[in-house]
C-alpha cells in the first residue's frame, strides 16, 4: 500500500457495492484516501426521536434552507450591486438585469421567513426544554444566531438606499445612540460619522456580505456540530418512556425524505410571495427630504419598537434596559432551569416563556396596526 493510504474497514466493505461495480470501486478508492468511514457510519446511524412534538425539529433545517437561499440570491445580487451607487445599482437590478427583481424579491422574502423560522425554532426549543444540560452551548449559539440574523436584516435594509430604507435605518441608529454605555459609540461606528450617509452604506455592506456571513457560518457550524455530538433533545414525556416504547426514525433517508416536501413547500412559498408581491424600490433616499408617512421598522423589530413607545420621556432608559434584560434572561435560562423532569422552577420558566411569546406577538401586532 502506498504511503498515507488507509485500510478500508471491514464494515465499510460489507456496506459498499461490489468492488467490480463503478460505485463500489469509487467508494473503496475514496475511503482508502480519506478515512471518513466513522463519520459516514455515524450519519448512517443518526436517529431522530418520534413523538407528537417531533414536527418542531424541522424548524432548524428549514431555517438552514432559507439561509442557503439567502447565500445563493445574495451572491447573485452582489454581482450587480455597487456600494458607491447604491440606489442606481439596485434600480438596474430591478429594471435591467433579467430576473433581477425576482432574485431581489426572493432575497427579501427569504430573509423574513428565515427570521420567522428562527423565532419558531427558538420558542419550540424553549418549550421542549432543549436548552437543559448538556445542551446549554447549543442554546446560546442558537440565540447568538438569531441576533446575528436580525443584524443581517438591519444591515441589508439600508443597502437599496431608498426613502424607506434610509429613514428606517436612521430611526434604528438614533434609538441605538440613546442606549447608555456603548450605544453612542456603536451608532457612530456603524454610521461612519454623525449622520447616515453613503459612508454608512460602505460599513453596512461590509457587515452584510463579509462580517456577518463569516460569523453566521461559523456559528451554524458550531450549532450543527453540537447537535450531532449531543443528539436530538427529547421532551420529558418522551424521555420518561421505557426504552422499549421509544421509537426513533433513521435520519438518512427516512427523516430526511420527510423534510424534502417541507423544503419544496417553503421554496414554492418564496416564489409565490415574490411573484405576487415583488419587493418595491422606493424613490432614492433624500436625507434632506421629509420621512415617508407611517415609517416603521421591519416586523421583527416591531415588538421592541412598540415596547419603547410605552416608556416615554426619561422612562425610555427603563425600556431600553428591558430590551437588554430579556435576551440576557433567555441566555441564563439553561442555568436556572436544570431539573429533569421539570420541577417548580421549570414550570415558572414555561410561564415566563408563554408571557414572552404572547407579549412579543401582541406588541408586534400592536406596532403593525398603530
Amino acid at each position: 500500500m502506498a504511503d498515507h493510504m488507509h485500510t478500508v474497514p471491514e464494515e465499510a466493505l460489507k456496506e459498499l457495492p461490489p468492488a467490480h461495480k463503478a460505485l463500489g470501486k469509487l467508494g473503496r478508492a475514496l475511503l482508502a484516501r480519506f478515512p471518513v468511514w466513522p463519520i459516514v457510519d455515524f450519519l448512517r446511524n443518526k436517529k431522530v426521536p418520534e413523538h407528537r412534538h417531533a414536527a418542531w425539529y424541522m424548524m432548524g433545517g428549514l431555517a438552514l434552507f432559507f439561509f442557503a437561499i439567502q447565500v445563493f440570491t445574495g451572491i447573485l445580487l452582489m454581482v450587480y450591486y455597487r456600494p458607491a451607487e447604491p440606489w442606481q445599482s439596485v434600480q438596474r437590478i430591478v429594471m435591467e438585469v433579467p430576473y433581477g427583481n425576482l432574485m431581489r424579491s426572493i432575497h427579501h422574502w427569504s430573509a423574513n421567513l428565515m427570521i420567522l423560522t428562527l423565532f419558531l425554532h427558538m420558542f419550540s426549543a424553549y418549550f421542549m426544554k432543549a436548552y437543559r444540560a448538556p445542551r446549554e452551548g447549543t442554546w446560546l449559539v442558537g440565540l447568538a444566531l438569531l441576533g446575528l440574523c436580525m443584524a443581517f436584516g438591519f444591515s441589508g435594509y439600508l443597502l437599496p438606499w431608498d426613502d424607506l430604507s434610509f429613514f428606517a435605518t436612521n430611526v434604528g441608529l438614533t434609538e441605538m445612540e440613546k442606549a447608555p454605555g456603548l450605544g453612542p459609540w456603536l451608532a457612530s461606528l456603524l454610521r461612519g460619522g454623525p449622520a447616515v450617509t453613503t459612508d454608512t452604506i460602505g460599513r453596512f455592506y461590509v457587515l452584510h456580505v463579509v462580517v456577518l456571513p463569516l460569523a453566521v457560518l461559523g456559528l451554524i457550524g458550531m450549532h450543527l456540530l453540537f447537535v450531532q455530538i449531543q443528539g436530538m433533545s427529547e421532551p420529558d414525556s418522551f424521555a420518561a418512556l421505557p426504552a422499549c416504547q421509544k421509537k426513533h426514525k433513521k435520519f438518512f433517508f427516512d427523516y430526511f425524505a420527510s423534510e424534502i416536501p417541507v423544503w419544496l413547500a417553503a421554496f414554492a412559498l418564496l416564489v409565490a410571495l415574490s411573484a405576487i408581491w415583488p419587493r418595491a424600490l422606493e424613490a432614492e433616499a433624500d436625507p434632506f427630504g421629509a420621512a415617508p408617512l407611517g415609517i416603521k421598522p421591519e416586523w421583527y423589530f416591531l415588538a421592541q419598537y412598540q415596547a419603547l413607545k410605552l416608556f416615554p420621556g426619561k422612562l425610555e432608559y427603563a425600556g431600553m434596559a428591558l430590551m437588554g434584560i430579556v435576551p440576557l434572561l433567555c441566555a441564563l435560562v439553561p442555568f436556572f432551569d436544570r431539573a429533569v423532569p421539570s420541577d417548580r422552577r421549570g414550570t415558572w420558566i414555561e410561564r415566563a416563556g408563554v408571557a414572552l411569546l404572547v407579549g412579543f406577538v401582541v406588541l408586534t401586532v400592536w406596532g403593525w396596526i398603530s
Binding site: 425576482l102 427523516y255 420527510s258 416536501p261 419544496l264 414554492a268 416564489v271 424600490l281 422606493e282
Partner: protein
C-alpha cells in the same frame, strides 16, 4: 350606484373575498376529485388480498372527506357568495338574473351530492362493495355536474364572449370562450387534489407496509395533474380578452415592481408549484413509509399556493372590470360610461347610499371614496390609497382622476369636478393635509399650477402610481 358599500377597514372587501375563495377552491375541488378517488379505490380494493382493510381505510378517508367538504366546504361556499354580493352587488345581481336556472341546477346538484355522500358514508357496514362503488360513482357524477354548471357562471365573468348586455344570450354567455379550458383545468386539478388529500389521510396509518401501498395508490393521482395543469393554463390564456392579455403580458411599468410581466411571474409560479408537486410526490413514491402529516400538508400547501397565484393573476387580468366589458369594478356599467352626461354629472345625485352629506366637504369626498374606491382599495391597509398617492400634490389628483382610465387598469371616474376635488381633499386628509375641496376646483387651480408634478398629464411621471400590471407590497 344602487347598493350600500361594504367597508372592510384595512383588509378591503376584495381581500376578504380572495381569502375565502382560495380556501373554497381547494376544498371544493377535493370534494369533486375525491368522488372519483373513492370509485377507483373501491374497485381497486376488490383486487387486493386485504380488500376489507382497504375499504376500512376508505371509511377513514370518507370521514375526513365528509367533515372537510360539508363543514369547511359549505361554510366557505356560503361565505364566498355572501362576501362577493357585499363586495359587488351589481355583478351578483346580473349573474343571478342571467343564470338563475343554472344556479338552481347547481343547488340541486349540491343537495343531491350531500345526500348521496351521506348514503355512501353510512352504508359502509350495510351495503355490498358493489353498492358502495355505485354510490361513490353517483356522488362523483353529481359533484362533477355541479362543477360543470358553476364553471359556466365563473368563466362568464372574465370571458363573456358573444354575450352582450343587449342580446343577453344565455347559451353564449354560459359556453363562453374560457368555459372548456377552465373545465379541463379544474377537472385535472381535482384529481391532483384528491391524491394530495389521500396522502394526508394515509399519513396517519400506523402499519408502514399498508401505508406504503396506499401512498403508492395516491401517487398516480398527483403526477399527471401537476404536469398537465401549467400546460392547460396556456390554452386558457389564449381565450382571454385582448385587454386582459395586455395587462398580463404588458409588464410592470415603473421602478416599483420590476420588469417581469404578470404573465411571466404567473408562469414561474405555475412551473415551480408543478415541479415541486412532482418532486415531492416522487419522494413519496420512493419513500412511501416515511410520509408524515407535515410532509402531506406541505404538498397541499404547494397546491394551495398554485391556486392562490392563479386566482391572483386572473383577478389582475380582470381589471378594470368585474364582468369583462360589462361592469367596471367601481359599480359603473360600461353602457353608462359611454354617456358623457351620466358619467360627468354630479355623482351624489345618482348614488343612493351616501347618507345625505353636504356637497364640497371632506364628508362628500369620503362618500366618493367609499362608493368608487373601496371595492378595490383601502385607506391605508391592503392596496392602500395613502401609499399609492403618497407623491400627490393638491393640484395633481383631480387631473389624474380624469385620465386614470386611459392607463387600462382603472375604471372611469364618475362625477363632476367637485366630486373629484372632494375625493382628492379626502385622500390628502388621510395623510394629515388639510385642503378645502373648493380650492381644488379647476377655476381656482388655473392660478396655482406650480406644484403639479405631472406636467404632461400622462399619470406616469410619479413613482408609486398604479399602472399597468403593477402590484406592490402595500
Amino acid at each position: 350606484m344602487n347598493y350600500p358599500i361594504w367597508d372592510v377597514g384595512g383588509l378591503g372587501a376584495g381581500l376578504v373575498v380572495a381569502i375565502i375563495a382560495i380556501i373554497h377552491v381547494l376544498i371544493s375541488h377535493v370534494a369533486v376529485g375525491g368522488g372519483a378517488f373513492l370509485v377507483v379505490a373501491e374497485i381497486w380494493s376488490r383486487r387486493q388480498p386485504d380488500g376489507q382493510r382497504v375499504r376500512d381505510w376508505l371509511h377513514t378517508f370518507a370521514t375526513f372527506f365528509l367533515v372537510y367538504t360539508t363543514v369547511l366546504g359549505a361554510t366557505t361556499g356560503v361565505g364566498i357568495w355572501f362576501s362577493v354580493q357585499l363586495a359587488s352587488a351589481e355583478a351578483i345581481s346580473l349573474l343571478i338574473h342571467q343564470f338563475v336556472f343554472a344556479w338552481a341546477i347547481e343547488w340541486v346538484f349540491f343537495l343531491s351530492e350531500l345526500t348521496v355522500l351521506y348514503l355512501y358514508y353510512y352504508g359502509f357496514k350495510r351495503n355490498t362493495p358493489r353498492m358502495q362503488t355505485f354510490l361513490a360513482g353517483a356522488y362523483f357524477v353529481i359533484a362533477w355536474g355541479s362543477l360543470v354548471v358553476i364553471n359556466g357562471i365563473l368563466t362568464f365573468m372574465l370571458t363573456p364572449g358573444a354575450w352582450t348586455i343587449e342580446n343577453k344570450d344565455i347559451a353564449a354567455g354560459f359556453f363562453n370562450p374560457g368555459y372548456f379550458p377552465a373545465l379541463l383545468i379544474r377537472t385535472v386539478t381535482m384529481f391532483l387534489l384528491a391524491g394530495l388529500a389521500g396522502f394526508l389521510v394515509a399519513s396517519r396509518i400506523r402499519d408502514e407496509e399498508f401505508k406504503g401501498r396506499i401512498i403508492q395508490f395516491c401517487v398516480k393521482w398527483v403526477i399527471p395533474g401537476a404536469i398537465l395543469v401549467p400546460g392547460l393554463g396556456y390554452w386558457y390564456f389564449t381565450t382571454l380578452p385582448a385587454s386582459t392579455v395586455t395587462i398580463l403580458a404588458g409588464g410592470t411599468v415603473g421602478v416599483v415592481g420590476g420588469t417581469l410581466s404578470a404573465l411571466t411571474r404567473m408562469a414561474i409560479l405555475a412551473g415551480v408549484a408543478g415541479t415541486s408537486l412532482v418532486l415531492g410526490t416522487l419522494v413519496f413514491a420512493a419513500y412511501p413509509k416515511t410520509v408524515n402529516t407535515i410532509a402531506a400538508i406541505s404538498m397541499l400547501l404547494v397546491a394551495q399556493l398554485g391556486i392562490m397565484g392563479a386566482e391572483f393573476f386572473r383577478e389582475m387580468g380582470r381589471k378594470p372590470y368585474v364582468i369583462h366589458g360589462v361592469l367596471y369594478s367601481n359599480g359603473l356599467w360600461v353602457k353608462d360610461a359611454k354617456d358623457p352626461a351620466r358619467l360627468n354629472g354630479p355623482y351624489l345625485e345618482k348614488a343612493k347610499w351616501h347618507g345625505g352629506v353636504a356637497s364640497g366637504t371632506l364628508a362628500h369626498g369620503e362618500q366618493v371614496f367609499r362608493l368608487q374606491c373601496a371595492s378595490c382599495h383601502t385607506r391605508d391597509g391592503y392596496r392602500s390609497v395613502v401609499y399609492r398617492t403618497r407623491n400627490w400634490t393638491a393640484g395633481f389628483g383631480s387631473r389624474w382622476l380624469g385620465t386614470m382610465h386611459d392607463m387600462g387598469v382603472m375604471p372611469p371616474f364618475q362625477g363632476d369636478a367637485l366630486d373629484k376635488a372632494a375625493l382628492v381633499a379626502y385622500v390628502l386628509s388621510l395623510r394629515g393635509e388639510t385642503v378645502d375641496p373648493r380650492d381644488l376646483l379647476p377655476d381656482r387651480q388655473a392660478t396655482a399650477q406650480g406644484d403639479d408634478l405631472d406636467p404632461d398629464g400622462s399619470g406616469q411621471a410619479l413613482p408609486g402610481l398604479e399602472v399597468a400590471g403593477a402590484e406592490v407590497g402595500r
